[in-house]
């Protein structure tokens, strides 16, 4: 469903991704691990089409389409979802009206506010979000954990084909992590979506079990393996994958 070939990405003049190759299949879970600054979030942002992340070479094909020709709007409509590490706050825009707007656009429908609230209530219950959140402004004054749950709520509403969870687990306590994991697993079972989990910790991988673990170092995927690779990394660290210093 997603095929990334030799992807190079710059931020300004600095090359961050130096030739990334990936191939994702439907209904699978991939875990992307690696040290801070290795390029994990850059990959996520580049796949979503952030204007500051310039693709200098390589190709990305998603569902048969050349993703690099699409703006973020179209990528979102094609079914890519990014759970942001630091979601923006949008004061004055209520969650219920925002979510109805993106639901109607992504599903190409025009659900009434009353019917949408019913649908939303169900999804909020799944994430253990209190009903009165519907009337709050999007992410406005939310705690880190609340923002993460709001990202997951958007995912449940949009029902993407590929969900990229960029450190969604950080800032969540054990109970919240359980709830989020359940929601992701249930959506995956229901819609056969593919999940890319970007994380530093194996904890989330206990709940959303990866089919493949990828290790990123210095802008490249340096190792692939099964879920046991995650435990290995946790035990030994990333020293083995330290960047090779030339000369």
């Amino acid at each position: 469903m997603l095929k990334v070939k030799n992807l190079h990405v710059n931020i300004g003049d600095k090359e961050i991704l130096k030739g990334v190759d990936l191939e994702f299949a439907p209904n699978k879970v991939y875990a992307l691990m690696g040290q801070n600054g290795s390029g994990k979030s850059t990959l996520a942002q580049a796949l979503m089409g952030h204007p500051q992340y310039l693709v200098t070479s390589g190709s990305v094909v998603f569902g048969g389409k050349n993703l690099l020709e699409l703006d973020p709007t179209s990528r979102g409509r094609e079914g890519i979802f990014l759970s942001f590490q630091y979601p923006s706050e949008i004061p004055g825009v209520t969650i219920s009206s925002f979510l109805r707007m993106i639901y109607n656009k992504s599903h190409n429908t025009n659900m009434t506010p009353v019917n949408f609230r019913k649908l939303l209530k169900e999804k909020m219950e799944m994430l253990d979000i209190k009903e009165d959140f519907m009337n709050r402004y999007l992410n406005d004054g939310f705690s880190g954990g609340e923002k993460k749950r709001m990202e997951m709520l958007q995912m449940l509403v949009l029902e993407p084909k590929l969900a990229i969870l960029d450190e969604t687990d950080s800032g969540l306590d054990i109970d919240a992590l359980n709830i989020v994991a359940k929601a992701v697993n249930s959506l995956k079972d229901q819609t056969k979506m593919t999940v890319l989990i970007i994380t530093h910790y194996t904890r989330i991988l206990e709940h959303i079990v990866p089919d493949e673990v990828l290790v990123m170092q210095d802008g490249q995927i340096v190792k692939k393996g099964g879920k046991e690779l995650a435990h290995e990394l946790e035990a030994k660290g990333y020293a083995e994958y330290a960047p090779v210093v030339n000369g």
Binding site: D71, P72, T73, P87, I90, P91, M101
Partner: protein, 479 residues
């Protein structure tokens, strides 16, 4: 190769919709009217006297007009605020009477005027939820109805000219007392040539559940519009007055200079809501002031879109103990527009409180300025005031300034002032676009959210209209 957002969008055909650029289609019709009387362009004592004579006014009003005209001549043009140098006072009609008399029923309204109102949707709005309608066509009120409900409660809601004839005592007592002609050059001009506007009297203890609505529009080239509104809210009464304006497109500059005087008696509460959306050539120079007595509450809700230059600072003189004044304002400036708007709160009595919340949006080289004054005189013990002004600037060419003045002569006063300036960040746009919204949808969502605290105070049809207008603007903003 990767593409930046901007590159992707630049592939699309560039189009720009400026504030009111869609007027011609939306509101910019100009139904031919055949005025019964049209004064000559320009102004002199004879024309001022002629206006008064045409209206068969009492002698004192004629003298008031003539004195005001002298004051107008004596007062220099304001040198602060916006650029007024292009106003040509000699190229304006100061009085235009569209038909002989004020109409009593809808059937009596001339068909071409009806056509204009139909296109503005006024009759429908009336059917649905208007308590009473005052619609101003050119300089005079030609149509007004008062529903039985209002009459039974003793509420007076009339065109100002008519009210002067029927209720002269109110005018002798209050007219020109809150805003004397000497207040400023444009208040003097209005006092000399005023025509039309609304008169409202809410008797003691009467609570109006539905808002009083007035619609008016400029509909003649070079037509100055000088309506004069006087509102008296008697003790313990409560009312909400709503006015909205649209204007057709004309190439020549047009001047709109209204005066609104409000008296809020002890324990009364009054809200005055205005949404103005003048076409790009209009100078909108309005003086609005309320005197708020003991335990009274005055709220100005003021939305300024369109116009070439708006200078408007609704004021509250808090003269009675515990009086409260509030101004909530939105300004939206597009290409070639300057919105110089704000508020004045004058604390004269102890324990008076005031709030000013001002939100402005500027785009395509538009300019917004917040200009405000909070004054606390020594006798106003424990006065409290809070000022919050937030500006949103949508592109590099646009501008926003803040000119707050605080004159606090009472050490116990509690004054807060907060100002923020923000730009629509790339991160916010990217975040919203990643959810499948277009750039224009994302921008209009951010702008709507920004002004939401004020929009939610508007009657429903206005908030819908305003949000729709913003959507149109944003579609035009994204090249």
């Amino acid at each position: 190769m990767g593409k930046k957002l901007n590159d992707i969008h630049s592939d699309k055909k560039k189009s720009t919709i400026e504030v009111n650029a869609n007027y011609e289609n939306t509101y910019g019709f100009n139904v031919k009217s055949t005025p019964v009387f049209k004064a000559q362009k320009g102004l002199n004592e004879d024309i001022v006297a002629q206006i008064s004579d045409m209206k068969h006014e009492p002698v004192w009003m004629k003298e008031f007009r003539l004195r005001a005209y002298k004051t107008f001549l004596e007062k220099p043009m304001p040198t602060w605020g916006g650029d007024l140098s292009k106003i040509d006072f000699n190229n304006i009609f100061y009085y235009l009477k569209p038909s002989n008399k004020e109409e009593k029923t809808w059937d009596d309204v001339p068909s071409e005027i009806k056509e204009t109102f139909d296109r503005l949707g006024i009759p429908q709005a009336e059917k649905e939820y208007l308590a009473g309608v005052k619609a101003q066509f050119d300089s005079e009120v030609v149509y007004g109805t008062l529903q039985a409900e209002l009459q039974e409660q003793g509420v007076i809601f009339l065109g100002t000219d008519d009210a002067l004839k029927k209720y002269p005592h109110f005018f002798e007592e209050y007219f020109g007392k809150i805003i004397p002609p000497t207040d400023n050059k444009f208040a003097a001009l209005n006092s000399a040539v005023w025509s039309g506007g609304s008169f409202v009297y809410i008797p003691k203890g009467v609570h109006l559940k539905r808002p009083l609505q007035a619609y008016f529009r400029i509909n003649a080239e070079n037509m100055g519009q000088f309506e004069r509104t006087l509102i008296i809210v008697d003790e313990g009464a409560y009312a909400h007055y709503v006015e909205g304006c649209t204007a057709p497109v004309y190439s020549a500059d047009s001047l709109h200079s209204a005066v609104v005087e409000v008296i809020v008696k002890p324990g009364a509460r009054f809200r005055y809501t205005t949404i103005q959306n003048w076409s790009n050539d209009v100078y909108n120079l309005v003086t609005k002031r309320a005197r708020v007595e003991k335990d009274g509450i005055m709220e100005w809700i003021d939305g300024n879109l369109g116009s070439r230059l708006t200078m408007k600072y609704p004021s509250c003189f808090l003269v009675g103990e515990r009086a409260h004044g509030e101004v909530l304002s939105i300004a939206y400036a597009g290409k070639g527009q300057h919105q110089d708007a704000g508020a004045k709160m004058i604390h004269i009595a102890p324990n008076t409180t005031s709030t000013i919340i001002s939100k402005s949006v500027s785009v395509h080289g538009g300019r917004t300025s917040y200009r405000g004054k909070v004054q606390v005189i020594p006798a106003a013990k424990n006065a409290k005031s809070r000022v919050e002004c937030d500006a949103l600037i949508l592109d590099e060419d646009s501008r926003s300034d803040t000119y707050p003045t605080m004159v606090i002569n009472e050490p116990g006063a509690n004054i807060e002032h907060e100002a923020t300036v923000s730009k629509i960040g790339e991160e916010k746009l990217f975040y919203l676009m990643s959810r499948g919204l277009t750039e224009a949808e994302a921008m209009s969502l951010i702008v709507s959210g920004f002004i939401e605290p004020i929009v939610k105070e508007l009657p429903l049809e206005y908030s819908l209209e305003l949000n729709r207008l913003i959507e149109l603007e944003m579609e035009g903003s994204v090249g």
